[in-house]
């Protein structure tokens, strides 16, 4: 599957829709050429650090080369099998700056994957070999962390821990095996409070033919609900400040004048303390000079499911069910606050947490989903009607403080012949 063209809306994705397709020839050739260049760059990057020893800070990084320039580079980190050794399923992701409509009248300035909020849904089979060609089309640095996936550590996407951040116009190729099965997700791990929440995140679903949840609760349809919260003003302010600052950093890098201290990267703790003693001032000591990017000023006032706030969720995010049917709902918390998803009129089964099946499902009507967690539930079609499904942390069921809004969607029975009351819309109660 080419994630650019295939993976769109998260909800109502049939399980049978999960198989990737090959990238087109043009895209493949582009990627192949890039890989060659990337090999050369990676080799050059390894030279200066080799003398420092394999466990010394900075080994394998280009950031400490005195004249490094990663603008436009192609990086293929070591550790994964080559294209000849395994059959990769290739995906393409682009980091972009995007204006996303949360609901009519509210635009969210954000970073995105492929101009989608949330990013495209990956649906792969367990043990598939995955190749993700990530291109940074922004001036800011990024990485991709594959949350909950057991992979090669050089593909884990933590800046300056497992890889150099992906710079402007740089291409970075992630390769790993998709395992274990379950509801996983991916997100940018650079400047995480901003990038993760607005809106570099998406679902990474690893299926298996031998799914114990499907055996226990046979289902045909499943839904992915990515829970999101946004401070639109913070996002705009922070992105403007970040992008303006990064233009200067990138300029220095292009000129091969960028020093690690200017970038705030240090080979080890001793280098860090030495820089401070010689006049470098860490950002966290600059007080309110940095207030325009202070994440403690982040106060989300819009909450969303799969990029839409109620009532915009009506169009795309309703859960559809029939009498007697089981549906699986995969909840992913892509925010920095707790959400307590409550379904009216039903007792559902919580069947998995962090993507892993529970030894014993248990019945709930409200399930907490804390930051970084995924929760899978099975809803059984036992009570025909229209049923609210919403965050019972009621402040999150509002738009800019006005109820109802935000994280509200609906379980809707498709086989209601002539319902006596059909929902309408209100946004100001």
């Amino acid at each position: 599957m080419d994630a650019n063209s295939r993976a769109g809306r998260a909800a109502s994705t049939g399980v049978g829709d999960a198989h990737p397709v090959s990238v087109d020839r043009r895209g493949f050739l582009k990627s192949a050429g890039a890989a060659v260049a990337g090999g050369a760059l990676a080799a050059a990057g390894a030279q200066p650090a080799a003398a420092a020893g394999p466990h010394q800070g900075g080994h394998g990084s280009m950031m400490f080369m005195s004249d490094h320039n990663m603008i436009g580079a192609v990086t293929e980190p070591p550790g994964a099998p080559s294209d000849d050794e395994v059959d990769y399923k290739t995906f393409h992701l682009e980091f972009t700056v995007f204006n996303h409509e949360l609901l009519p009248g509210v635009m969210l300035p954000c970073f995105s994957f492929n101009n989608q909020v949330p990013g495209p849904v990956f649906r792969v089979q367990e043990n598939d070999w995955i190749k993700v060609v990530a291109v940074n089309k922004t001036d800011e640095m990024h990485t991709i962390h594959w949350h909950g996936v057991d992979l090669i550590y050089t593909m884990d996407g933590v800046p300056m821990v497992t890889q150099d951040p992906i710079h402007a116009q740089e291409t970075f190729v992630y390769r790993f095996q998709a395992r274990p099965h379950g509801t996983r997700f991916y997100h940018c791990h650079f400047s995480t409070p901003l990038h993760f929440t607005t809106a570099l995140h998406g679902a990474f679903i690893i299926d298996t033919p031998d799914d114990p949840i499907r055996r226990a609760f046979p289902y045909e349809r499943d839904y992915v609900l990515v829970l999101q919260s946004f401070d639109v003003n913070f996002a705009r302010r922070h992105m403007n400040a970040t992008l303006e600052g990064m233009k200067r950093v990138n300029k220095l890098m292009e000129q091969r004048r960028l020093t690690p201290a200017t970038h705030a990267f240090f080979r080890n703790y001793a280098d860090f303390t030495k820089a401070i003693k010689t006049g470098w001032r860490p950002p966290y000591t600059r007080g309110n000079a940095e207030s325009n990017t202070d994440v403690f000023d982040m106060r989300p006032r819009f909450f969303a499911i799969n990029g839409k706030s109620y009532p915009a969720t009506v169009e795309t995010e309703h859960l559809y069910i029939r009498r007697g049917e089981n549906i699986r709902v995969r909840l992913i918390n892509a925010t920095i606050t707790d959400h307590h998803m409550h379904l009216h009129g039903h007792q559902f089964w919580k069947v998995a947490e962090d993507g892993n099946p529970l030894p014993q499902p248990y019945r709930l009507n409200t399930v907490p989903v804390t930051p970084g967690k995924t929760v899978d539930i099975i809803i059984q079609g036992t009570n025909p009607g229209f049923w609210d499904f919403h965050d019972h942390m009621e402040l999150h069921a509002r738009n800019n403080g006005i109820s109802p809004g935000g994280m509200i969607t609906m379980l809707e029975y498709e086989d209601l012949a002539n319902p006596p009351y059909v929902p309408s819309i209100t946004v100001n109660q």
Binding site: N233, E244, K247, T259
Partner: protein
């Protein structure tokens, strides 16, 4: 039925008792508040050579340019457009002819959107284009601004600020703008110049228009032009030789050029020229004569900003200014101004400046100033903050004030 009637009556009573705003859909929207301010204190030492011989030494503590700014803004019903109101207090200079200690230099209201902004009220006149690296914009006022042809008075209160009704259109992804405005410069009584009356009235007495190209330093650090502007400023004023009235146009052209492309060691050139087509005046002894006389001026500054790790630590600059009154022989003025700003912290600068001013003979005799040496040494504290951010700003509220280390366009934008 009786129960329903009672219920309706009670509801009506409640409605009657409620405040009138309760019937509005949007009873109250808290505005975004931008707070800004500058405290600038400079001990100054001046030695003035008289054309008649002898010199005079003075020492002052100057607080001019200290100010407090407030801007309030709200979205209109369409979230792409906003309204704003601006309020600013300013300390006057000791040598100003303005009599009150505090001057409301910003008192304006306007509306705007992504491609336009309209402002009505008192604010910067827009009679200059470039912010030169001087401690205050009044340090080279005669060279850098189109002077007020309707007032025989000194001071920024008469020369820099005035009433405007201005519309600005932004295009070319916001880098270009075109503006047109009606201006209302403060007027003083010119019937008896010897009495030097400085009570001011404000009437619409001019028009101006201009085109600018401007990219902020944050996105433009390649070598080359970062700001350029062309403006015409037309004043209607009393004709001092005929007792009628006259029209005096002036042309302004200016540019800021990045001399290199290293944001850590940054060289910048600022340049501006003003040609005032002028009117016949008897001599140059009064401020209003010098404002109305045909003249041209050119100012250029080269500055170096030392910004290791992209953090400004100090700026050194040299500014040269020249002005000549075309209808008079030996009536040119020259100024040389080296300046230095050392950043102690965010918005806190130690500033130092020297200015040498030299007037040719005719101008020296008219102004009783042959040459002057002036030294500034002081501290500048600038603050800005935003509360309840909802609209966003075109620029910092501090763009309304002169800054010694802010290359590019002159104050007046926000």
């Amino acid at each position: 039925m009786i129960k329903r009637i009672v219920s309706c009556a009670a509801a009506l009573a409640c409605a009657w008792a409620a405040p009138s705003s309760a019937i509005e859909i949007d009873p109250m929207v808290l505005p975004e508040i931008n707070l800004g301010g500058v405290i600038l204190a400079t001990p100054e030492f001046t030695s003035t050579d008289r054309p008649t011989g002898g010199s005079k030494e003075e020492a002052d503590l100057n607080l001019e340019d200290s100010s407090l700014l407030l801007n309030f803004s709200k979205y209109l019903f369409d979230e792409n457009h906003y309204g704003f109101a601006r309020f600013g207090l300013r300390a006057r200079g000791d040598d100003s002819d303005f009599e009150d200690r505090i001057f409301l230099h910003q008192l304006a209201v306007g509306v705007g959107g992504p491609t336009y902004e309209g402002v009505f009220g008192r604010t910067n006149l827009g009679n200059t284009l470039i912010a030169f690296p001087t401690v205050r914009d009044s340090d080279l006022l005669d060279f850098t601004h189109v002077l007020n042809a309707a007032a025989n008075a000194e001071g920024e209160e008469f020369q820099v600020y005035g009433g405007v009704a201005r519309g600005t259109w932004y295009f070319g992804r916001g880098a270009w703008s075109a503006s047109g405005q009606l201006t209302a410069r403060p007027e003083t009584n010119l019937d008896n110049l010897a009495s030097h009356e400085t009570d001011a009235t404000t009437k619409l007495n001019g028009v101006a228009a201009g085109v600018t190209y401007s990219l902020p330093e944050s996105v433009k650090f390649d070598r080359g032009i970062r700001f350029a502007g062309l403006a015409v400023d037309v004043q209607r004023a009393d004709d001092l030789s005929t007792s009628g009235s006259t029209t005096i146009p002036a042309l302004i052209a200016g540019a800021t050029v990045n001399l290199n492309d290293n944001p850590e060691r940054w060289w910048v050139l600022d340049a501006q020229g003003i040609y005032n087509l002028g009117e016949t005046v008897p001599n140059l002894s009064q401020e209003v004569f010098r404002a109305q006389a045909e003249s041209w001026s050119a100012v250029a500054a080269v500055r170096y900003l030392h910004r290791p790790m992209l953090q400004t630590r100090w700026q050194g600059a040299l500014t040269l200014a020249y002005k000549d009154f075309a209808d008079f022989d030996d009536a040119a003025a020259l100024a040389v101004v080296p300046s230095f700003a050392y950043r102690l912290g965010s918005g806190i600068d130690l500033v130092a400046q020297y200015r040498y001013l030299d007037n040719e003979r005719t101008l020296a005799q008219a102004t009783a100033l042959d040459a002057q040496h002036r030294v500034w040494l002081g501290l500048r504290f600038a603050l800005s903050g935003t509360f309840n951010e909802s609209v966003g700003e075109r620029g910092s509220i501090l763009d309304l004030e002169h800054g010694i280390a802010n290359p590019g366009p002159a104050a007046g934008r926000h």
